[in-house]
Symmetry: C2
Amino acid sequence: MILIGERINAGFKDIKEAIINKDPDPIREWAQKQTEKGATYLDVNMGTASANPDDFLWMIDTVQNEVETPICLDNNKLNVQKLAIPTCKKPPLVNSVLAIDEKMDEIFPTVAEYNASIIGLSQDAGGSPKNADDRMVQAGNVFAKAMEHGLDPDQLFLDPIVMPLKFMQEQAPEILKAAGQYTLFSDPSPHIVCGLSNISNGAKNKSLMDRTFITMLIANGADAAILDVMDDELVNAILTAELMMNRGIYADSYIEAFRG
Amino acid sequence: MILIGERINAGFKDIKEAIINKDPDPIREWAQKQTEKGATYLDVNMGTASANPDDFLWMIDTVQNEVETPICLDNNKLNVQKLAIPTCKKPPLVNSVLAIDEKMDEIFPTVAEYNASIIGLSQDAGGSPKNADDRMVQAGNVFAKAMEHGLDPDQLFLDPIVMPLKFMQEQAPEILKAAGQYTLFSDPSPHIVCGLSNISNGAKNKSLMDRTFITMLIANGADAAILDVMDDELVNAILTAELMMNRGIYADSYIEAFRG
C-alpha cells in the first residue's frame, strides 16, 4: 500500500503557524514522525497560509533536508507545481489535476519529464461526480490523456473523489463501484488513491469510519491513500486488507514486521 | 446485516459439557447473551458431543424456551435437519447443504414447506473449491436447484467457503471475487453468508482479521455471517460497512442505536 502522510498541511494549526513564522521545526517533526510510521510519500500543502510559491519550495526543502521520503506536492496551482517538481530529490507525486484537457496538457509533460507521478481526479469543470458512471467517464479521460503524454499506468493515481458519508451517503457505494471499474483500464492497472478522511468529515467515529472505508476500497482495488499514518488501527486494518488481497505473504508477525 | 451467533456449538467446551450433562444453563446463557448483542439467528450445533438427534432437539427447545431469536440449525446429517425444522417456532436457517443434487433434493422440499432458509455451500462431492470460477459453478448449481424447488432467492444463503488466510492465502481474493459474482444471480440477489472465523484459523490477530475480512466481503455483497456477536469491534465494523453500502441511514448515534 502506498501511504501518503497527510499531516504537513496548513489545514493543521501547527503547520500553518510554521509557514507564517518560517519555523521549520513542526515540519521537520512531522516529516520524521510520519516517515517512522511507514509513510511512502509525505503530502506537503501550504493551503491558505501563504500565496508565495517560495514558501511552498521552502516547505519541500525543509522536508527533504530531514528525511528521504518522497514528496506528494499538494498545491492547487499548476504553475507552482511545475516550479516545485524539479526541486524534488526523488520523483514526486503531484496532487492533483482535474479531468480537464487544458489542465492535463499543462502538467503532464513536466510529470513525464521528471518521471514523477500524478493524482488524476474524477472531476471536470462540471463539478463533483454524481455517481460511478460519471466517475468512470472522468477517469477514462484522465487515463487516455496520460497515455497520450507517454505516462506509464504506474505513474497515474486515479482518485474517485471521496465525499462525506454523513452528508452524501448515497455516494459511498458509487465511489466503491467506480474504484472497482478503474482496475480494468490496464493490466497492471493505474494506482487507485483517495483522500480518506473526507469519508468521515463531520461525523463521529472518524477513525472507525476511515479504516472501514479504506478496507472496502482496497477490496475494490485501491492501493494508495492520503491518510493519517499516525493512526495505528487504521494502518493495521490496511496491512490486514492487503494480505486478504494476497499482496505480500502472511506471517504471524506481519504487523510487527511493518512497524519494525 | 444478518448476524448468526456462533456460540452454541459443542466446539466450545462449556456447550459440549452442557450437552453431555443435559445442563441447560450454558445454552440458556449464550442464547440470552447473543440475543442481547443483536444476533439475528442463533446457530445450534452439537458437534461430536452426541450422535443422538434427541439431544439436538433438546438444544433447540432449550434455546426456544429462553429467547425468541430464530435458530440456525447446524447439523451435518440432513435427516436430523428434517426432524428439527418442524420443531422450530420461527422459520429456521438450515446450515448447510453441499452443491450435490441428491442432497439438495433431499432437504429443499422441507425448507420450502416450512418457509425456512438454507445455506448452500459452494462445494460439491469433489471437495473444496479451488478458485472463484469453481465457486461460481457450485453456487450456480445451488441457485438453479433452489429455484427448481420453488424457493425464493431470499430463502437462499450462498456460502463461498471461507478458508484460513494463514494456510491458503491465495484463496482470500478468490472468495471475495466469488461473492461479488453471487450478487448477479438475481435482483434482489440471494443472501451471501460465510463462516467468518475460518479466515483467522490458526492466525494471530484473529479479531482484526475477522473484522477486516467481513468488511471486504460486505463490499462484495455479503449480508450475513456466522460470527462472534460478542466481539463489539467486529460488530461495529459491520455496522459501519453497511452504512458505506448505503444500507440504513447514517446518524451520529448509529452504534449506540444498534446497541440500545
